[in-house]
Amino acid sequence: MIDPTPLRLRITSDPANLAPVRRKIEGFCADCDFDEEAQGQIGLCVNEALANITRHAYKKATDGPVQLDADFSANALKIQIRDWGTGTTPPLRPRPRDPLQPGGVGLVCLRELMDEIRFTPQADGMLLTMERKLN
């Protein structure tokens, strides 16, 4: 299989972008030969990462710049999402969750559905890297 052309998206933190970006990343994952369940899981992780950027990094502002790069090589998907927000690193291990207290589910998704996630603080924001191997 020829590796699909890398995906480069330059968007804002407006939640209106969530559905179209989800569809693009799921389409990219389909081109990488991920099955339908995995496509949905990776789309969900991107959705949750972008929603967290809007809510926390940009404190609900909808005009913050966001850069999403997706690459597939050596049987592995790598997604990098860069923002220029507050640069706060989420807790490495989420707090024990009370089911009746919402919050933290997005990070749980990232940790459970991706093989690896890394938050790399930048001088002016944050870089999130998520990786998942094609089984």
């Binding site: 969530l18 969900l44 089911p99 998704c109």
Partner: protein, 119 residues
């Protein structure tokens, strides 16, 4: 059964059957439109105070954590009066998120509305 007026395309149909409030929900729901769902759902809950809230999700192919938060907020309101929230007709992605979030146990999951009504 009494048909109720709704003000959101995300809830195209709402009805009251005894102490049950049945909401048919439709569409992909994420942070973009979950606030609209929240407003409409909480308004219906405040007006009707059901003992049983049945959310028919058969036409919902996708939700995210912000949507789950709306369901949990509705659950907390219904629990205050000793009621229960039923999620029916779950599609695979919705079911998957409930399991990852470990929230399956706080709702009553049913195949369809008649099964929820019978419980």
């Amino acid at each position: 059964m009494e048909e109720l007026t709704t003000h959101s395309e995300l809830i195209p149909s709402a009805s009251k059957d005894g102490e049950a409030l049945i909401l048919i929900i439709r569409g992909e729901i994420d942070l973009h439109n979950s606030p609209e769902l929240r407003t409409e759902m909480l308004d219906l809950l405040a007006r009707h105070k059901p003992q049983k809230l049945i959310l028919d999700l058969a036409r919902v192919p996708y939700i995210d954590s912000s949507t789950l938060a709306v369901f949990v907020e509705a659950l907390k309101k219904v629990l205050k009066t000793g009621g229960k929230v039923f999620l029916v007709g779950l599609q695979p992605r919705v079911q998957g998120l409930l399991e990852i979030a470990r929230l399956s146990s706080i709702f009553v999951i049913c195949r369809d509305t008649p099964e929820a009504m019978a419980k």
